[in-house]
Every structure is written in C-alpha cells, then in structure tokens.
C-alpha cells in the first residue's frame, strides 16, 4: 500500500470541516444592501420640468418603452407655445437599461437612478407615469414606420400605401407624433 493512501481525502475533508466553522460570506440581501458603483444603470426617471418634449428618447428606445403624449403649450410664459409633454410613461417591463435615451437627451432630463428592484404582480404596474395625464403603456409608442414607405416604393403603388397609412392611423393613437411623422414621410415618398 502506498503511504500516501487517503491523504487527499483527509486534506479535502479537513478543508471542508474548517469551512464549516468559518464566518459565512453570504450577504443577506434584503437586510444588507451593498453600495452600488458609480454610473449604475438603475430604473430610469425623468425631470419633467426640464423636458422639452423633443421625443428623441422615445425614438431611439430600442424596446419602445418610452411613450410621450405631446401638445403645444406656453409653459414658460414667453407667449410662444412650445412642445410640451403632458403624458410621459416609462415601461420598466420593457426597458433593458441600455442608456441610449440618457445619451440622446439634449437637456439631460432623463437619467438612471440607483433603484433596481423593479417588481410587481402585474406587468402593467411596471409602467411608471410621469406626466399630468397617464399614457396607455400597452400601445406601442413607435409603430414600425420605416417599412411601409419602402414597400410602397418597391411596389410603386403610392395610392395604396397612403390608404394603408390612413387605415392604420386611427388604430395607433393619432395623437402620437411618430404616426404623424410616418404619414407625412409616406406622403413625401409618394
């Protein structure tokens, strides 16, 4: 019998026995919360006072998670109506924390917080409203606008394309700017 028989087993077992009595390294999460690093991408929030309703965040969002309801309103008392976001919803059930909206915002009014515990019993509860009026988060804020003009151009049937766009418009909330933009662009293409 080789003299080292069983030594490996003894070694391993002694290590596990030592670990049995060591202090545990688990962080008990809900009681203990570690400090998050700088630039943590948590849930988004909007400073509605600074928002100029430029809709850039809504357009760039890959997940279509931001919906803005835009009107013209003389908010700063300059006598000149400017775009104003009456409704602003961020749907956290869609957000993937890519930070594109934060980068694109010209007035730095949309930014990440350190909140990361997005949970709810209903998916719609995850849509957080920021504006004066709630926006329906179930409506896709950015319907596919680019395909239709291409289709229309490819087929060469401008009339049909226009008819389609008109037919679609009432379904997809005519208040929304992108729908209007789509219409106008289609019109241009035609």
């Amino acid at each position: 019998m080789p003299p080292q028989l069983g030594q490996g087993i003894m070694k391993g077992m002694s290590i596990t026995l030592k670990n049995l009595f060591k202090n545990k390294i688990t962080r008990q999460y809900p009681e203990y919360k570690r400090n998050l690093p700088d630039r943590t991408r948590g849930m988004l929030t909007v400073d509605m006072d600074r928002c100029i309703a430029c809709l850039q965040c809504m357009r760039i969002c890959p997940d279509h998670c931001i919906s803005i309801e835009q009107t013209k309103r003389d908010a700063d008392g300059s006598g000149k109506p400017k775009p104003y976001a009456v409704g602003f919803v961020i749907d956290d059930s869609r957000c993937m924390y890519c930070s594109l909206c934060v980068e694109v915002c010209p007035v730095n009014c949309i930014y990440h917080t350190e909140e990361f515990e997005a949970q709810a019993y209903n998916r719609l509860e995850l849509a957080r409203q920021f504006g004066e009026r709630p926006v329906d988060p179930t409506i896709d804020p950015r319907p596919e606008v680019k395909k239709k003009p291409k289709k229309a151009a490819a087929k060469g049937k401008a009339e049909k394309g226009d008819a389609k766009a008109d037919g679609d418009a009432p379904k997809k909330s005519p208040k929304k700017a992108p729908a209007k933009a789509a219409k106008s662009s289609e019109g241009d293409a035609a």
């Binding site: 596990t16 670990n19 545990k24």
Partner: protein, 332 residues
Amino acid sequence: MEFLNFLNQEPFRFLLAFGVVLFLTLNLAAILVMGERKVAGYIQLRYGPNRVGPRGLLQPLADIIKLFTKENISPGKADLWIFLGAPIAMFIPVAAVWLVIPFAPGAVVADINVAILFFVAVTSIGALGVIMAGYGSRSNFSLLGALRGAAQMISYEVPLILSLLGVVMLTGSLSLVDVVNAQGGGFWNWYVVLQFPMFIVFYISALAETKRVPFDLPEGESEIVGGYMIEYSGMTWGLIQAAEFAGMGLMSGISVTLFLGGWQPPLEFLDLGQFNWVWFGIKTALIMFTFQWIRWSLPRLRMDQLMDLGWKVMVPLTLVWLVITAAAMLVF
C-alpha cells in the same frame, strides 16, 4: 397508567410501535434534508435555508407542502404500476428495518433472533425499487441509472454482509439486542475497537448502498441528471428522496448499533436508564453528519473505480479480517 396496559399487548403494541417508527422515519427524512442543505451551505461558506421560520427550521415543512401541491406527472409510455410502485418499494424496506433496531434497553419493536439477517434481506429490496423506477419510467437516463444502481447495490451487498459477520461471530447471535448488550461497559468494549477494518468497510458499503457521494453513480446528477428518479415529480419524487435520506439514517443507526454500542453510553457512569436512546441518537446523528460531510467534500468515483474498490479491496479485506477474527477467537 393501568388502563394503558392493553397497549402493551401484542397487536396493539406492534401497531403503535409501527406507527411510531413510520412517523420517525418520515420525520427523519425531512430533518435530514434540512440538515443536508444546512451542512452543504455551511461547508460552502453560505447559510443554507434561513428564511422559513426561526433560522430556516421550518424549511422541510415548506418543501413538503410544495411537493404535495405539485402535479404528479409520468411519461406517456411508462409502465404505471411499476412506475408508481417503485417509490413505495424503496421506502417500505427502509422503514421496516427500524423495527428491529433497539433504541434503549427494552425499547425495540420486534426483538427477533435473526435481526441482522432481516436487515440484510430487507435492505436488498431497495435495489429492486431502483430497478423498478428505472425500468418503469421507460426513459434512457432512468434505465442507465437503474442499471448502474443495480450493479452497485448488488456488488456492495457482498462486503456489507461480510463486514457484519465479524460482529456476528464475536456476539454469537444474530439478534441486534444481543449485539448491543454484548457491547456494554464503556466505549472500549464497542466492536469498533476489535473490528475497526470491518467498521470502515461497513461504513463505505453503507455509503454505496444508500447511493450517496462518492458513490452516487445511479443518480449522477451531472451526467445522467438524476438517473432512475428523473421522470418522477411531486410526491412520488418526494417519497424517493425520503427513502434515500431515511436510508442514510437507517445505515447510520445500523452502524451505530453494530459497531458503536447502540444505546450503550460511552462510560459506565453516564448510564441514563430508559433515556439511553439519547446516546443512540447522538451517535447516529454524528454518523449522519459524517455522511453529509463526505458528500460535500469528495468527488464521484468512476464506475470501474467503484467496482475495483468493492471487489478488489473490500471483499478480500473483509475475508482476511474474518479469518483473523476466527483465529483470535480460537486463541483467546
């Protein structure tokens, strides 16, 4: 207490004791699952379950409620009678062997004179349960696990039985009560002193019989994802797990009874009379802990290594030690 005397008469005594033993076995399984997870956590520098109840002690209750509420599904082509009978065939033998183990002086359900034979015969039914589970599921991994289980459990029956023979020779009886009585008078009279190699062989065979790491080839969750129990769900799966953990408790109890003096206190003056079951419990719990400790320390053996260890090391060792025991008994 006179009116309770009828409980000491035969059908009632046995029925009551059987109920108690069944209760003990099921609870033992639940507590061992809890202990397993706690030991695993502590060895890996975690806490283990600690949310349900004080320090997570009600976790087994939560587990059982969850298992009872789950649907019991079976494969479409499964042989249902065999599939559903397998967990029972695994559990009943494990519970039945507790009937012959003495817990304290006089506290044994059935003091039969062939208790060790009973133990050997009944535990080998466990292999049948494994084969039934693998065969009845009609699934490839199940069958693989069952074949491995059959090979392993039948191979390790041999050293298991041979390692018991030394104790039987020294005691001159197959009754576990006689075995325990013969080990009285201090820990140096326990058979683990005279039969130390046999104890080691019995311990390793017990590990293999209960299919625990490092001999968990029939389960092999990293290669055949659970082996023979892969198709089970809900409480049938729970019963298989209960049988495994209760089997581990049973093997600990048997090894304590045979080699570590059963309920005998380690020193004379620590005798607690009827409460000697405390000693039995402490010793059994220690052995159970070593089972869990080994489980979370050692890697799994390969099949050929397993067979080599069983047939080439342990069987010759037990045979040699039997001859030595016999010679020593002749001389002294």
